[in-house]
Amino acid sequence: MPFARLGRYEVKGWLGGGRFGDVYLALDPLTQREVAVKVVRFQGDATPYLEEVRNLARLDHPAIVRFYTVDLLEGRLLIITEVVKGESLREVLNRGRMSRERALEVAGQLLDALNHAHERGVVHRDIKPENVMITPEGKVKVLDFGLSRLAQGDLSMSMGGTPAYMAPENWKGIFTPASDQWSAAVVILEMLTGLNPFAGDTLEEVRNKTQQGVKEGRLTSLLPQDLVQPLLRALAPEPEERFPSCKTFLEELVKGEGEKVALVVRPLEKPEGLPPLTREQRQAVEDLSPRILVTGGPGTGKTTVLLARALHLLRKGEAPESIALLTFSFRSWKEMEARLEQTLGEKYRGIWLGNFHQIAFRVVSRFGHLLDLPREFSLALPAQQERIAQEAAVRAGGEKASREILKAFSQARIWGTPWEEVASKATGRWREMLESFEYHYLQLIRDRGVLGYEDVLYYALRLLEMEEVATFYRERLNHILVDDVQDLDRCQIALVEALSQGGNLFLVGDDDQAIYQWRGAHPSYIRGLKNRGFTHHRLNQTFRLPPEFREMAISLISKNRERMPKLYWTSREEGRARLIVQPLKTPKDEAEYVADMVEILRIKEGYSYSDFAILYRVKTRGRLIEQVLKKRKLPFTQEGGRTFLDREEVRVLLDLLAFLARGKSATIQKRLLKGASPLLGGRDRAVQELERTLGALEPQMKPSQALELGMETLNRLMSRAENSLLVTRMEAMETLLKKAKEFEESARSPTVANFLKYIRFLRDAGLAGGEEGIRLLSVHGAKGLEFPVVFVVGMVEGEFPLARALGVPQEMEEERRLCYTAVTRATEVLFITYYRYSSSQARFQETPSIFIKEMLGVG
């Protein structure tokens, strides 16, 4: 069979081409080795070219493509080298800039290779990302040493180079090792920043920029400080002002690194902590489309796909700082953080990870001054924000109109509508009041140095509408990844879309699990994405649901009209799952039954307490279950659990309550202030101010009152340096406050001391026998979790679904989604329980929830 041949080499493929000619993949029939054959055209006598090539043959360095031999064929030089598998640095940089660590690893090998060549009298002349290959093992290979001169076809002409990487003297035809150093510096700068400062649309423009050089201020704005001076020197206009060699350049560049930069680029570690991806998951993760939507039912691995996507991007060379991973809730955020840390170690820290408030907080912290927001602010408690809004509304319109103003304000915050727009739609006196409200509101938040949660989101959106701010984030963020997109409200959606302008958007969600419409979530957004050019990936394989539960869940949710059709199949085996629908007489009987079944299953079938979850729709049901579990001394944990109680800011607040309960004990005060000091940045004045707050506590205060006072002060004082955690700390403190209020609602004697006992019990209850306890959760709180055994209690009309939803289609659909979310938490055993009579004295029977019939496909 005839092959395409180049001399004796049998051509297998085309690898690329440049000014010098083409490169082919070929087989050497003598050695049976695959080689790369570069075909270089030349004019006249071949002797000078062969001499040039012999110089190249003297190079022997792991980061320089190995040269094998040279041949002449019909007026063309054939240069035979090793085949380099991998991708060019250009292909890597097309996906975004690199992390500092990776960029310096590549730089180290590049500069070392150049130094080797320069010591042997060879100048590359055309260093650029296209001529640097990165192998699958992470090694650097520099291509085409000296070939740019050969490519001109006339060795008397000392030309070469690619304009945007050419040193000033190159434009005059002078090529020295110092000009290779310049070119390498441009490449390194591009790796670190994604920008070539000399790039231009015309040759003229490039030349002018090169002659002008790069200013220190520009580098300072782009780079970490320790890299500025080395790069500035390597980019000095005069060759003699640059480093004496690429070796000294490298030494200066990595001086700040703790250890010598490895000569071998380490590929990213194989990710731990993530299961192997299925084909459909991998397709979603590796899809290069700029707009991607991934949907899937319960247990299909949506969060795994999101994490895998982040890892995939990092492995492809994306800088962590160019990736934003947004989650809906505080808990999801902490889970993501834990998994990323487990997989990547310290490397994950560059990623923008957080819930929406966290991200919005960063935007406002940095650019808030553009809207005249306070430079330093603390987050206001919801009650505090309400008071400020109330005050502003009264100032604007008087007591009578304030309620209407507040309603409009709340709507605008939920929808993210600019206040000017709200006011512009009003007329006359009403418009004046709205405009005046904004004025007063801004004044109050400036005076008090606070912003509420909703303010942070709202102002972040306003800031992202500004070109300067939008450009800042567009240049930094290449990839926005969002979890639970069905739960986003309009403001959060607007934030995501604003941040993702010009970048890549990767959204994950399930509209069947949209359970926050009551809080302003906008689940129809996810349904509309397909018509907006999003590439849609469906995850059809569920790993959690047994076939029996899958059938039941689909039977239930298919009753909803407003949903994206889904078909999913389960990889679980049939025949092992159990569904028990159990009617009981009263709610108390129901609670006793649940406790009985926990013990029976634990003893007979070996489940541990932590394998059980009891999910309730209404708080009263949860409290009743809690009482029975306490009475039976069964260990349980509620939402928040043990972890949040261990946080520093929560411990400080608990000490504050203890201080109050023990008659302002000096010992406890000392302990409290010591614990608070790190939170306040160790500042004496801040600690003194906290001490004054302790003095203001009054013995008859309710737990929530004391906590609010303490939280207000802590918030204000927490160190600016801690601001990245400010939102986290706020949310943890809010959880404690919420517990206090719940306690006050249900306790007969809601004193501070009793509350502390309650908290102690919560903490201790989770530690019995070294096991975690039964999880007692609201349905909302169970989202995203899974348990072997799940009880869904209180399944009667009026409780689940709620009374307010009955007869209201949209509300019923949300209740159905809640129920779907609840029943899909179980992996082995699912109990659906309901009571016939609301109490032992009731005469009328309750109606079992319609959802039971829908699940079973009856009626």
Binding site: P2, A4, K12, G13, W14
Partner: protein, 316 residues
């Protein structure tokens, strides 16, 4: 009466005309694949053999030498070819006709008998011009395979060429090659890239026995062009090569790498051989035009009383 000459045609070509549909196997039996030639990222596989020895004048050469004229009729979709010479004149499908009121390409191959004139169906490749006083056209190159394939597909679908699609393809080509043409003419992609096309893809002339070629890039088959005999092929080769080179250059700019090995060639040739006649198209001039389709291929062939004059096969 028209049937009689056909009976005398080469048996492989027409013996099965009544019995079964014509296949490429009959036609290509005596064609031989020769050692591929590498021209940058373009691989040309010469086909050697001869199907019939009939000689023709070539339109683009006749225009150059003043032996024929192509006249503007004032209608986009046709022009008048005047052949006052003593030779039958061959027009290649995709052949450029430049000047007059706007640049065109021939929609189909045709043979214009000696001393006759013919209204030739054409399609416009210069969206931005409908002006000019010059009534006559001059010759050019041959449109790139992707455009020729688009024309064939268009004819297969509706029997006529979709002008809009042709303009969009021309626009796409100009953009992909980063060429700014004031009138949006395909020909500018040849002229603006002339040096590059010559440097990268020049330097090979077909041998005496070469009557056709298969053109490959790393992406795959561009097209297969077969002419009646080596003389005809060598006359058309410069224009054909320019067309191939235009597609190859686009792929080079996009950096499309890939295999260019014998196995691919052989597999493709096998598939080209399975192409069959599916329909006879209305044609002008001598002979008739056939629409050919295969498992993944589409093409057209011009058959006269002398036999196969020209065939082009593209990936479908």
């Amino acid at each position: 009466m028209w049937l009689r000459p056909l009976i005398h045609l080469a048996i492989p070509l027409f013996s099965c005309l009544i019995a079964k549909p014509m296949t490429w196997r009959d036609l290509i039996e005596n064609l031989e694949l020769k050692e591929p030639v590498l021209l940058g990222n373009l691989m040309v596989v010469p086909l050697e053999g001869s199907l019939n020895s009939r000689e023709f004048g070539l339109l683009h050469l006749a225009l150059e030498e003043g032996r024929a004229r192509v006249r503007e009729l004032g209608m986009v979709e046709k022009v008048l070819v005047e052949n006052p010479s003593l030779d039958d004149l061959f027009v290649l499908e995709g052949e450029e006709l430049l000047g007059a009121r706007q640049d065109r390409v021939a929609v189909s191959s045709a043979v214009i008998p000696a001393r006759e004139e013919l209204e030739l169906p054409v399609v416009c490749i210069e969206e931005g011009r409908w002006a000019g006083d010059e009534p006559l056209f001059r010759g050019g190159y041959v449109a790139h395979p992707r455009l020729r394939s688009l024309i064939t597909l268009s004819i297969r679908g509706s029997g006529k060429v979709d002008q809009q699609k042709v303009w969009r393809e021309v626009e796409r080509k100009l953009t992909s090659l980063k060429i700014s043409s004031a009138t949006g003419s395909l020909h500018h992609s040849f002229t603006y890239q002339e040096g590059t096309l010559e440097e990268l893809y020049g330097g090979w002339n077909p041998g005496e026995r070469v009557t056709g070629a298969m053109a490959f890039t790393p992406k795959g088959l561009l097209c297969c062009d077969i002419l009646a005999n080596p003389s005809l092929f060598s006359g058309e080769w410069p224009g054909l090569l320019k067309g191939y080179a235009l597609d190859a250059l686009e792929e080079r700019i996009r950096g499309r790498r890939g295999k260019m090995n014998w196995q691919r060639i052989a597999e493709r040739w096998e598939r080209v051989g399975k192409t069959k006649l599916v329909r006879r198209l209305s044609s002008r001039g001598k002979g008739e035009e056939w629409l050919l389709e295969g498992p993944g291929e589409i093409g057209r062939a011009l058959i006269t009383e002398d036999g196969l004059i020209y065939a082009s096969i593209h990936p479908a």
